[in-house]
């Protein structure tokens, strides 16, 4: 069906354009377009994790119990002081090792684990990581890294909610729990959104690093498709075209940024309804 359609359009546009159309819609290229799903899953999954880690981090930072507060500050400081690439490479490796260690204890017993020197300690503890597993780990790593950023934004936003509002609410007889959820958190979003939008943009750009975790994402496919081919069996013989493919990715991410901006503007309008801060109405 698709091939027929392309042939028709090709005839209508002329032979050269028809050939290029057929080329950019062959299986290889379709696989490239389809690999966008990894980027989107990682972005959405990573953002969800980041908000969860962010709320957790903000709660820790606000805690009156000092060790919790230190833990929150430690988390955000370490993550901010270390490049995101390092975390994204480190976390899946460390997590895999941790899981295999636990597995080794469960399946092979402590004596066997202590006796072996290699890795993993026993065969049964081998964890075969598939693309799906890597994707989940990429989401968690992105969540940890940008959760620290989100924690700071959320912490700041909670501090920005005016104390008077909360006092008024409790004066009206709302319980502390109601005051927290219905007033503090509800109003917090309006203050946090600009910052969270910035965190989302950073996270979106960080999804370009998925190929470092052996996920065949848009970046890896672009490199493969653009690489020069001198071998007719492999497909169309062409010189090095990578810069064209990377240019497409460059534009793709700019487009994603534009869409995100529109989305967050709409969200901001929604969140600040009825609030006396700039950006309302």
């Amino acid at each position: 069906m698709l091939e027929f359609l392309i042939a028709q359009i090709g005839q209508w546009l002329g032979e050269d354009i028809g050939a290029s159309l057929a080329y950019i819609s062959n299986g290889k290229h379709l696989a490239w377009y389809a690999s966008v799903r990894y980027t989107l899953i990682a972005a959405v999954g990573g953002a969800t994790c980041a908000v969860l880690f962010g709320l957790l981090g903000a709660a820790l930072k606000q805690s009156s119990f000092l060790p919790f507060k230190w833990l929150g500050d430690f988390y955000t400081t370490i993550v901010r002081g270390v490049p995101d690439v390092l975390f994204i490479l480190f976390f899946p490796l460390a997590f895999e090792k941790g899981v295999e260690y636990i597995l080794a204890y469960v399946k092979c017993g402590a004596e066997n684990v202590a006796a072996t020197t290699g890795w993993p300690p026993c065969d049964a503890a081998q964890w075969y990581l598939s693309t799906g597993d890597y994707l989940v780990m990429a989401c968690v790593s992105l969540g940890i890294v940008y959760g620290a950023f989100a924690a700071n934004v959320i912490h700041g936003a909670m501090m920005a909610v005016s104390r008077g509002q909360l006092e008024a609410a409790s004066a009206y007889g709302f319980t502390p729990r109601q005051v927290f959820w219905r007033f503090k958190v509800r109003q917090m979003w309006a203050y946090a959104l600009p910052g969270l939008s910035n965190v989302w943009m950073l996270l979106l750009k960080a999804t370009s690093l998925l190929s470092l975790l052996q996920i065949a994402d848009i970046v890896q496919w672009a490199g493969r498709l653009g690489a020069a081919n001198y071998f007719p069996r492999v497909g169309l013989v062409h010189p090095d075209w990578r810069w064209k493919y990377y240019l497409v990715l460059f534009l793709f991410f700019i487009l994603m940024t534009m869409i995100s901006e529109r989305f967050f503007e709409a969200l901001q309008r929604r969140a600040s309804r009825g609030m006396a801060i700039t950006g309302s109405n």
Binding site: P83, A94, V199, V219, W243, I254, T257
Partner: protein, 251 residues
């Protein structure tokens, strides 16, 4: 026994990583002297009354802030490579242009200047109109107004955010050798960490020491930036600068 063995492995790593850390530091330090003036020019361009200049600067800043550095690296390298035969070779500069020690900072400059320009632009918008008008009323030339009113105000206001940007830039140097070829033994912290990891699979030790280097150098950058900030604000307050880590979580 185990403890001392572990300690020596740690110290060994600290020694091994010292040279690779210099490469990351080099990439960041080489990018700042070019990135800073370029960012100022971009910010002035974006604020310029000239419509085309403003549009061009705005577009540049948007594009380079809106796309990942990882892709900018790949793109710039492949474009530079494609222009080698027609431009760099005839000019005799191909050995410089395509060298990671040049191309790395080059791409980092393109990237960081867009982020920094946005910060400077934000600061420019807050320069009090009255001060500029007063200076003009004194008969100052446009250059003099810029030098004595706009520039100090902009710099003082944007500095905390700019010091933050320098730390982001330093972290971004990790991407250089993920995208550009490695010449001889010129390896950076991430190269070295993955190299060592592939030998003994001790992920916590090698990545941990690399992370420690990043953390310490980040703190150092904040400290130096703090000293400069103190100098910029010397006429306002005399606050003391300690070796501190006060990052922003925005870029």
């Amino acid at each position: 026994m185990f403890e001392s063995l572990h300690q020596s492995a740690f110290i060994q790593d600290v020694i091994i990583f010292a040279k690779p850390a210099l490469f990351n530091l080099y990439f960041a330090l080489a990018s700042i002297p070019a990135g800073f003036p370029f960012a100022v020019l971009l910010a002035l361009g974006k604020a310029s009354p000239n419509k085309w200049l403003a549009l061009l600067s705005r577009g540049y800043i948007y594009a380079f802030r809106g796309s990942p550095l990882f892709i900018q690296f790949f793109m710039c390298y492949s474009i530079m490579l494609a222009m080698n035969q027609s431009l760099w070779k005839p000019w005799g500069i191909d050995h410089i242009v395509l060298h990671p020690l040049f191309l790395g900072p080059f791409v980092l400059v393109l990237n960081t200047s867009a982020y920094a320009a946005e910060l400077f632009y934000g600061a420019l918008k807050t320069v009090p109109k009255g001060e500029v008008e007063a200076a003009q009323a004194y008969g100052m030339s446009r250059w003099n107004v810029f030098r004595s009113v706009t520039w100090p105000h902009m710099l003082r206001l944007a500095w905390p955010a700019y010091s933050n940007e320098m730390v982001f830039l330093f972290h971004a140097t990790t991407l250089v050798y993920f995208t550009l070829p490695v010449i001889n033994e010129q390896k950076d912290l991430m190269n070295k960490a993955t190299d060592l990891f592939e030998r003994d699979y001790n992920v916590f030790l090698h990545f941990g020491v690399a992370a420690l280097y990043f953390l310490l150098i980040s703190i150092l950058i904040f400290w130096v930036a703090g000293l400069i900030q103190k100098h910029l604000n010397s006429h306002i307050t005399g606050d003391k600068v300690r070796l501190s880590f006060k990052p922003r979580y925005l870029r």
